[in-house]
Amino acid sequence: MVAVLALVGLTAVIALLEPAAATPWRHVYFLPVVMTAIRHGTGAGVLAALGAILLFGPVVLRDIERAGARRAVTEGFVTFALLLLAGALVGALASQARRQRRRYEALLAAQRAVAEASPLAGALGRLRAVLAYRLNAQALGVVVLGPAGPEVCGADHLQPSSMAASVVRSGEALYVADAGGGRRPRRTLVVPLAANGVTVGAVAIERHGDIAREERDALTGLGAALGLALENARLAARQRTFAEELERKVTEATKRLAEMDRLKSELVALASHELRTPLTAIQGFSELLATRPFAAAEVRRLADIMRAEAERLGRIVADFLDIARLERGLPLALRCTPLDPAPLISEAVEVFRRTRTTHRLELHVDGALPRIDADADALDRVLKNLIANALKFSPAGSCVRVRARPEPGAVAVDVEDEGPGVAAAELARIFEPYYRAPSTAKLERGTGLGLAVVKSLVEAHGGTITAQCAGGHGTRMTFVIPALS
């Protein structure tokens, strides 16, 4: 508007002061023309020059009418030509500079968009929005090849025979002057996104306005820069994921180490206590025997206690040795022989019947049990450990049932108590070394090795062991040993 007013005002001045083709005032026309060209580009520059020519034209034509084609008139025509040239050239330069600036801004904005920490889909969405705005596109789409197939932004899917798919395959830019289907032609340009010489995707631009060759070349260059930016963003995202994964693993490992450290301290305390208790008993009773006279019956009773405590000490040490062996990956040393399990089971139950009178101990043997190939000592340890546990974790006066029965090709033994049982979540872990169920750990002390050793011994015989608990109505431990074929 300012340019129009300037042109009209200047023409009025010329008309009033010196309406001639060679008037020096005609040079002032260059000012609004050049200013308009600088400010608005080629089209506006040419339009301003045409406006100046239209306004100044009648003055020149009147001179021709009056005096014919003189030198002064020629100057008027030269001014017309120069005005057009100035408008077009200055406008072209200004437009070129503006386009270049816009491209740098677009590249910068696009790099910022993809550099932000987010999943690839989010980065592509931002990139699309930024480019559509900066490149003045009616529609814009981005395709990036990923490990799980092409990631598409701007369309539902990538049609295999589309322009973009073709560009991704060939790595060459494609341009069509009209994509069709509209009153106005839709220029469509697809440029490859390349990183380190490899095509990693494509950017598709659709616009109603022209996409000149110079702009197409520049956009192809932009595609290469964007490809690198996207690749960098992808690497950065992968690095972030790796760092997060590493941090998570370190946190987990630290937690596990802390847990192991706690368990180790607990174990040392427990082991010290478990070892000290029988030692104290042996030490105390042996001192009594050494320093005081006792009746023969009393001496036998004290000797029995000392033997029992020594056996207990031996079991604890054996458990530690077995677990240490298993943790080193070594098998348990068994001396297997064919044997009848029934007497072994009866003997183990009988031992507890004699020593633990606080509970009722019931033994049921269903029919004739088949012979098994087993280490008698190991089987005895398994039975005594399970019966001792059942007695330990069930109230006085309750019943502990031991039931042996033949199974197809095996012998199954149940040890069932009437204690409070074990929570379902804890059942899965009670065979782990050092694990002591929180619900039972409060009731009795222990090393947490007994059931782990039992399981190892049963499995060393080719058998299995399971624990069942029915909602606070006691625990049933069942182990199965294969029969001799």
Binding site: P58, A139, H157, S162, A177, R184, P185, G209
Partner: protein
């Protein structure tokens, strides 16, 4: 989005595809016959001139219609013949009978009634209202400038011609001159060119063709200054109309620009 979601096929249709060659041959033959008969004194010469003018307008309109048909079918093949007949009829009527120039107006009516089938011309363009105003402004600016320049330089004056003199010219512009130019040079030629090349190249082709059409027009005065003026104004008008078509996809803004400009030209032309 086309580039991602549609199968890509390269369009290879030629720029002049679907040109109604039979119609052009028939029109050419009619003109030759008319001049032969006029030379033999069988028909008056003004009839032959009317047939020639009508044949030229009919060729432009017929080709534009043939290129603009949106649903090519059996009936579509007759549409170019229809508009050519109407154009020829208008020209003959204008040359032979008093107030016959009113017959020129049958051509825009014929096109308007078939606008749905002639999607390429986009005659009903409610979206182009703003650009229609711009078209009127463009025609007015060029027309006023022409009037001022001509009255300053060439001894022409803007006058108030009688309606009986002005009306046939306005009818000719509305029904033949401007209508045929916009339908063919913008709605057909420029439309096809812009779908192959840049705006600049397409506008240059359409404008060059448009100028050529005016230079072969026997109705244009043959003086140097008139030819230079015609080239200047018709060139600017053509470029402006190409831009209007480029922005809207409709010939309506260009029609308005042309009608306003030629109305001003007729005011100037008739008073000396």
């Amino acid at each position: 989005m086309y580039a991602l979601g549609a199968p890509h096929r390269r369009r290879t249709a030629a720029l002049l595809a679907d040109t109604p060659l039979v119609l052009l041959l028939v029109l050419g033959a009619i003109v030759v016959v008319a001049w032969t008969l006029a030379a033999a004194g069988v028909v008056p010469e003004r009839l032959a001139r009317g047939v020639t003018a009508g044949g030229a307008q009919g060729a432009l309109l017929g080709t534009a219609v043939a290129w603009a048909v949106s649903r090519p079918d059996a009936r579509a093949a007759f549409l170019p013949f229809g508009i050519a007949t109407v154009a020829c009829g208008g020209a003959v009527a204008a040359s032979m009978i008093p107030f016959g120039a009113a017959a020129y107006l049958l051509a825009p009516l014929w096109l308007w009634r078939r606008r749905a089938r002639l999607g390429g011309l986009c005659l009903d363009a409610p979206h182009a209202a703003r650009f229609t105003v711009l078209g009127v402004a463009l025609g007015a600016v060029l027309g006023v400038h022409l009037a001022i320049t001509a009255s300053l330089t060439l001894g022409y004056r803007v006058g108030r011609p009688a309606v009986s003199v002005l009306a046939p010219w306005l009818a000719y512009d509305a029904g033949a001159n401007v209508l045929a130019a916009e339908c063919f040079f913008r709605g057909a030629l420029f439309d096809r060119a812009q779908r192959r090349w840049s705006f600049g190249a397409a506008a240059a082709v359409a404008t060059a063709a448009c100028l050529a059409r005016y230079f072969v027009d026997p109705l244009l005065p043959r003086t140097l200054e008139m030819a230079a003026g015609a080239a200047f104004y018709v060139g600017l008008l053509s470029l402006g109309n190409c831009w209007l078509y480029w922005r809207t996809g409709s010939i309506v803004p260009g029609l308005c620009a042309g009608l306003v400009f030629f109305a001003m030209y007729r005011l100037l032309h008739v008073v000396r």
